[in-house]
Amino acid sequence: MKKILKDFSRNQKEVVPILHRVQTEYGYIPPESLPEIAEHLKISESEIYGILTFYKAFSLVPRGKNIVTVCMGTACHVRGGPQILDEMERDLEIKSGRTTADGNFTLESVNCLGCCAIGPVVVVNGKYYSHISVQKVGKLLKEYKST
């Protein structure tokens, strides 16, 4: 944590950039990091808690090894995005926003990735998959199940 905080000034505007960095390093925001961030920025812990729970990007619990994001944008919606998410939930046996018990997958949805032309779109660990159909879901997840 100290090493991370060294890169940031003590101005409050750094709070979101710091949280981004912490999440990149640890995969989530460990609750025990909050006092240190608060001390660095000289703002209260509760304020940081308020900020990090306001923004969807941050998670206070560890996330899965593989992050599966299903796009729920309008273009993906009319091309069957909700059915893709349904199938993902069924296959992984978790609801969107949750992590599987073995910690292998976190399933998330996003409002729009801006790749509307090639929808429905699914992103796994930053890799984009275009024109996904319900049929392709099983095969796609299988690729990551063994890892």
Binding site: N11, Q12, K13, E14, V15, V16, P17, L19, H20, L41, G50, I51, F54, Y55, K56, A57, F58, M72, G73, T74, A75, H77, V78, R79, G80, Q83, D86, E87, R90, D91, V110, N111, C112, L113, G114, C115, C116, A117, I118, G119, V121, G126, Y128, Y129, S130, S133, V134, Q135, V137, G138
Partner: protein, 638 residues
């Protein structure tokens, strides 16, 4: 390269680059924005690299990786220069053939060319493709010419010339006047006159002043800002520096949504290059003007696209909107005068300065000037980003550029303006597209999303989709927005489930009025628009959902069943094998049956049933009840 400290140096440098440039050289231009990369453009580039190396052609043939060319449906695609041949939907296996036949022997490979969906005519010349022909590509023109990670490419395309012109030939006031004269209006949603906005901020006394580029493109279905930042980031930076000079700002911020990693990467690089060349920082171009730009990443909150929320977010607070006035021009970032424009607006600025306000004002309609980039998506043949002059009709966009509706289906409506906009029905297809006509039709221009819907799209479901979106994204500050949208979602969900009540439409209208009138920011004030326009144009669909418990578009999951016609089914096992829920039973050459209790209604069986057979269909309303009863009877007396 050293800092450029004088306008003449910029010209000398450009000329030197042009000498090295060799315009006639054979070049493979690869469209590689996020869409392109998602479709495999990076693999195509690798294949070209390997093959050129293998054949020892590295010095003779250039490879150029650019941003998005707009024709996303055809990704991955390449443009072969100098002859302008366009190859689409490529696979890595196609690469050796392209090098052998087209690059070395000048032959066109017709199987890789675009074919008109109407006439099957093969069109090899990129500019002759109808998708491009009817567009007026001004902002997006250079996307095919430049490598977005190279400032030199931008300079070759006359980059930073507008900046030099402004710094040494115009006062700040004159720049504001020029932008005012051009008639440019904000491309982010509101459509406020950009020049006027600049003037208000310029006249304020507070110091320092800030400018912001709003790149928190949150409207689902709109991605032109992403494409501009990815494909031509310097055009946005140049616009911002000119704006800072005109307004007298010392610092600028680009607020980009975190969902756009490639845009962040390209902008970050562009900023570093612009600093090295002396277009940012102290003594820009040798003048006394000092200005720098910082990049801030969002954190996944739609409301932060609203200007006051965005500023709160930059300051390191929760993205809550606040009351206006005071407007950002009076009291913005850290209480100082601030000017916010969106990406596309900023990108228009260098163009206006270079070619003049009169030229710009000659494009478009009386009150809407210039071009607008739309993202044409949904149930349309040619999905992609299209740049068109304001005033073009919906028909020209959908049929001439977009190539009509997918799979020969019927055009039903187009949704513009994202969650703040509305649905325009098919009978208004000759509507000219500009700020005022869209508002009159009950929708808005918004940031330019254009989602095409066909007969299979349910308008009640679309209204529910958008309300669910705004309800989830409501920051919770105002009760009417927080609670009102929740009530509206509940009613709409009920209607989509077939549990609608007689007075639901009236209730929705009443709630919509309250939410619109009593919310603080744009999110709440416009959130009911998708509901209001769908009620206005598709009231009958609501009524059928409520009274007959059926969904005419066969889209609402709870109001449909899938069933296999025993007379048509040949027992090929295709649907049985592909059903993810294992809800289909049957043997080879025997009729298959769907277990309605297991069926998740994903539609896979309908998709895989061969078109010659078409045994699977969707049913709603009375027919659906009949099927369910029949199945029930069979279960009771097997």
């Amino acid at each position: 390269m050293k800092r450029i400290t004088h306008p003449e140096q910029l010209i000398t440098w450009k000329n030197r680059l042009l000498e090295r440039h060799a315009p006639g050289k054979k070049t493979v231009v690869i469209s590689s924005g996020t869409c392109g990369q998602a479709s495999g453009s990076l693999q195509i580039i690798e294949a070209f690299k390997k093959e050129l190396e293998k054949r020892n052609l590295k010095d003779e043939i250039n490879l150029k990786m650019t941003g998005c060319h707009g024709f996303c449906e055809m990704e991955p695609n390449v443009l072969i220069l100098p002859n302008g041949v366009f190859y689409k939907n490529l696979k890595t296996e196609d690469v050796p053939q392209i090098i052998e036949e087209t690059l070395l022997n000048g032959k066109v490979i017709s199987s890789l060319c675009y074919a008109s969906p109407k006439s099957d005519e093969i069109i090899s010349d990129c500019e002759a493709i109808p998708f491009y022909q009817k567009q007026k590509r001004l902002l997006t023109a250079d996307n095919v010419r430049l490598d977005p990670t190279s400032i030199d490419d931008y300079i070759i395309c006359n980059g930073y010339q507008a900046l030099a012109k402004v710094f040494f030939n115009m006062t700040g006031e004159e720049v504001v006047e020029e932008i005012k004269k051009s008639g440019l209006r904000g491309r982010g949603g509101g459509g406020f006159l950009t020049g006027l906005k600049w003037e208000l901020c310029r006249k304020e006394d507070g110091e320092p002043k800030y400018i912001i580029c709003n790149a928190d493109e949150g409207d689902p279905g709109a991605y032109m800002d992403r494409s501009l930042l990815e494909g031509n980031p310097h055009s946005v930076l140049e616009g911002m520096i000119i704006g800072a000079y005109a307004i007298g700002a010392a610092e600028g911020y680009i607020y980009v949504r975190m969902e756009y990693p490639l845009a962040v990467k390209h902008v970050t690089r562009a900023l570093a290059e612009a600093r090295t060349y002396g277009f940012l920082g102290k003594a820009i171009l040798g003048s006394e003007f000092e200005f720098d730009i910082h990049i801030v990443q969002g954190a996944g909150a739609f409301v932060s696209g609203e200007e006051t929320s965005l500023m709160a977010s930059i300051e390191g607070r929760r993205a809550f909107p606040r009351q206006r006035p005071p407007f950002p021009a009076q009291s913005g970032l850290w209480g100082k005068p601030t000017n916010i424009n969106n990406v596309e607006t900023w990108a228009n600025v260098p163009l206006i300065i270079n070619k003049g306000a009169d030229w710009y004002a000659g494009i478009g309609t009386k009150k809407s000037k210039g071009t607008k980039i739309f993202s044409l998506v949904g149930k349309i043949n040619n999905t992609g980003l299209v740049e068109v002059p304001m005033g073009i009709t919906l028909r020209e966009i959908i049929y001439d550029i977009g190539g009509g509706i997918k799979d020969g289906k019927k055009f039903k409506a187009v949704q513009t303006g994202g969650p703040s906009g509305g649905c325009i029905p098919a009978d208004q297809i000759d509507l000219p597209i500009d700020y005022d006509s869209l508002t009159k039709a009950g929708s808005i221009m918004g940031s330019g999303g254009m989602i095409v819907m066909d007969e299979d799209t349910c308008m009640v479901d679309i209204a529910r989709y958008f309300l669910e979106f705004t309800q989830e994204e409501s920051c919770g500050k105002c009760v009417p927005c927080r609670v009102g949208t929740r009530q509206m979602v509940d009613i709409l969900t009920r209607i989509c489930r077939g549990e609608g009540k007689e007075d639901d439409i009236g209730k929705l209208e009443e709630l919509a009025r309250t939410v619109k009138a009593a919310s603080l920011c744009g999110l709440g004030q416009t959130a009911p628009n998708p509901v209001l326009t769908t009620i206005r144009y598709f009231r009958d669909e609501y009524e059928v959902h409520i009274k007959e418990k059926s969904c005419p578009a066969l889209a609402c999951k709870d109001l449909i069943v899938y069933d296999i016609d025993p007379k048509k089914c040949v027992g090929c096992l295709l649907c049985k094998k592909s059903c993810p829920a294992e809800a289909i039973s049957g043997e080879r050459k025997k009729v298959h049956i769907i277990d309605q209790e297991k069926c998740t209604k994903c539609g896979t069986c309908l998709d895989v049933c061969p078109p010659k057979i078409r045994a699977v269909s969707k049913y709603t309303g009375k027919k659906m009840d009949k099927i369910l009863k029949k199945r029930q009877a069979k279960r009771d007396n097997p």
